[in-house]
């Protein structure tokens, strides 16, 4: 089963995303960017990397942009090339953040409110990208 890391500081948003994916993947949770980075690195070191990360951009402690930048730097130092890095979808309320999301290393973005069918489609495309190529 695919493993998805859901990162959001709001309990309702986390539950909402979990509900969308509960029958499609094993969902793990982080409540801010720092926790997300820890979860990512622990999973990577434990040889059970995530298949996808869904991450909110505005969070306390460490925001999504910084967390994604840390994750990409970690992958770069570990010798992971772009084609094999974990897909990351940014979840944001601000269209003007799109450029920053891509600059930080996100693969895709969705605007709030999240459209469940569209998010599932996008996630499937990203998670299956190796199989399709």
């Amino acid at each position: 089963m695919k493993r998805i890391l859901i990162v959001d500081d709001n309990f309702v948003n986390r539950s909402y995303l979990e509900e969308i994916f509960h029958d499609k993947a094993k969902c793990l949770i982080a409540v801010n960017g720092a926790e997300a980075f820890m979860a990512f690195s622990n999973a990577f070191e434990g040889k059970r990397p995530f298949d996808l990360i869904l991450i909110d951009m505005e969070m306390p402690v460490m925001n999504g942009l910084d967390a994604v930048a840390h994750i990409r730097e970690y992958e770069r130092l570990a010798g992971i090339d772009v084609a094999h890095r974990v897909p990351i979808i940014a979840i944001t309320a601000h269209e003007e953040q799109f450029t920053k999301c891509f600059e930080a290393g996100c693969d895709q973005y969705v605007l709030k409110p999240v459209n469940p069918p569209a998010l599932v489609r996008m996630s499937n495309e990203l998670m299956n990208r190796d199989l399709e190529e």
Partner: protein, 104 residues
């Protein structure tokens, strides 16, 4: 919540079961009530960034649950917080939102 409004929302959300949606709304009301108290306290201490962060979080959840009338009010309050309006103004908005939450 009005039955037609809920049906329209559930339709927008695809295959999210009614019971799950109801559970999420219930948690939203509970958590938002606590967040509103926190927002007023943050502003009272001059912590406008903390208050704005809480308002932003609440706004995102309202958007995801398609509670558009709540979303609009939270957005207004977030704007007021970012403009560093006095605590009394924010408290009034928070109180109005609390009343709206009770009616969901």
């Amino acid at each position: 919540m009005d039955r037609d409004v809920k049906l329209r929302i559930l339709n927008e959300l695809g295959d999210l079961p009614v019971s799950v949606y109801d559970g999420l709304v219930e948690k939203f009301v509970l958590i938002s009530g606590e967040q509103l108290v926190g927002i007023v306290q943050n502003v009272g201490c001059g912590d406008y960034d903390g208050a704005a962060q809480k308002a932003h979080s609440m706004k995102g959840a309202a958007a995801n649950l398609r509670l558009h009338w709540i979303f609009e009010k939270v957005r207004e309050m977030e704007d007021d917080i970012k403009r560093h309006l006095p605590q009394a103004v924010i408290a009034e908005k928070a109180d109005a939102l609390s009343q709206l939450l009770k009616k969901i």
